[in-house]
Structure formats: C-alpha cells, structure tokens
Symmetry: C2
Subunit: 100 residues, 2 copies
C-alpha cells in the first residue's frame, strides 16, 4: 500500500538555507526506486514551518534507504537547518471535488 510521508520542518536557519538543503536531499530521494512524488509547502500561518508531503509506493522502499550513507548524510545536513517531525502515514480517504 502507498506510503505518505508527512514531515513538518521548523526552521532553525533562513528559508533560503533550508530550501537549498531540502532540494539536495529531495534530488537524492527522487532518484530512488519506489519514490512517486513530493510536494513541499510553506505555512502562511507560521512562516517558520515547512511541510513535505511525499508519496512512495510502499514503506519498505523508504525504509531500505535508512542506512545508506547518502541518506545518513542528508538527514544530518537537514537537521542543521530545521527540526523535522516525520510521520509515516497510510491513506484513509481520497476525495475529489464534486463536478460542477
């Protein structure tokens, strides 16, 4: 079953620094088997908050990256610019707007 990784980041650096590091990590993730897509959004409610919503084919695809040296490095790097709060999630409901 699809896995949705929702990761909330609270900035500890500037938005520019965070986005630079995030893009590097995301470029690595994007090239891995099982990666489907991600969307990075920034909170207008609290501009120190970014949320990454990433879709993977399955949990194993993401877990298999955990011990890869590049992954360990990217994880360490992102922690120098933000505090992550990741949730591995399963879809419950997917609803499109009513046709007009």
């Amino acid at each position: 079953m699809a896995l949705v990784l929702v990761n909330k980041f609270v900035l500890t650096a500037t938005p520019e620094e965070f986005e630079k590091v995030f893009r590097e990590t995301a470029e690595f993730m994007r090239a891995q088997p099982g990666f489907l897509r991600y969307r990075l959004v920034r909170s207008d409610t609290d501009p120190t908050v970014y949320i990454n919503i990433a879709e993977w084919t399955d949990r194993e695809a993401l877990l298999s990256l955990n011990d890869r040296p590049e992954m360990v490095e990217h994880r360490a790097e992102i922690r120098t610019v933000a505090i992550p709060d990741p949730h591995f999630c399963s879809p419950v409901l997917d609803v499109e707007g009513a046709p007009r």
Copy 2:
C-alpha cells in the same frame, strides 16, 4: 494561487468517531466553490494522529466559509473528537519521480 490546508488532528475519541465526524465535515467542504480535493492520512508513527491535506483554488474560497453557520457547527463538532493544528500553506515545490 492554490492553497494547501494541512491540518493535523490528535484524537481525543476513537478513530471510528473521528472518521465519522470528519466525513460529515468533508462532505460539506467538498460541495463548496473553490474546493479541489483532500486526502486524509493516518500516521503509522503515532496512530492517534490523522493529517488532512486539502487543496483549494485560493485562500479566499476557504476564508469565505469561516462564518457560515454550518462551518461553525462542523468546527465545533470536530473539536469534540480531536485537537486540530491547521496550517494554511502555499506550494513551494512539486516534484514527480524521475522516469525509469
């Protein structure tokens, strides 16, 4: 510009009670102008956490609902089953997986 509403809910009732109330609210939202889609996911990391990711055409569409009596009622009802933590967000990056 598109608005992404990311709302994290921490359960104060059973998952069944929360999902029932959420579905009722979502059915109302779905019928409103400007609503595009939503996805409700449940955290495997912490099963007392649900996250709703809703897309709207723009912030005004969502804000215009704020004072509607149905909205006030739905908001009150959902607070009887979970603690919401909503973030109004703007898209920063949207990336699809690399072709294989």
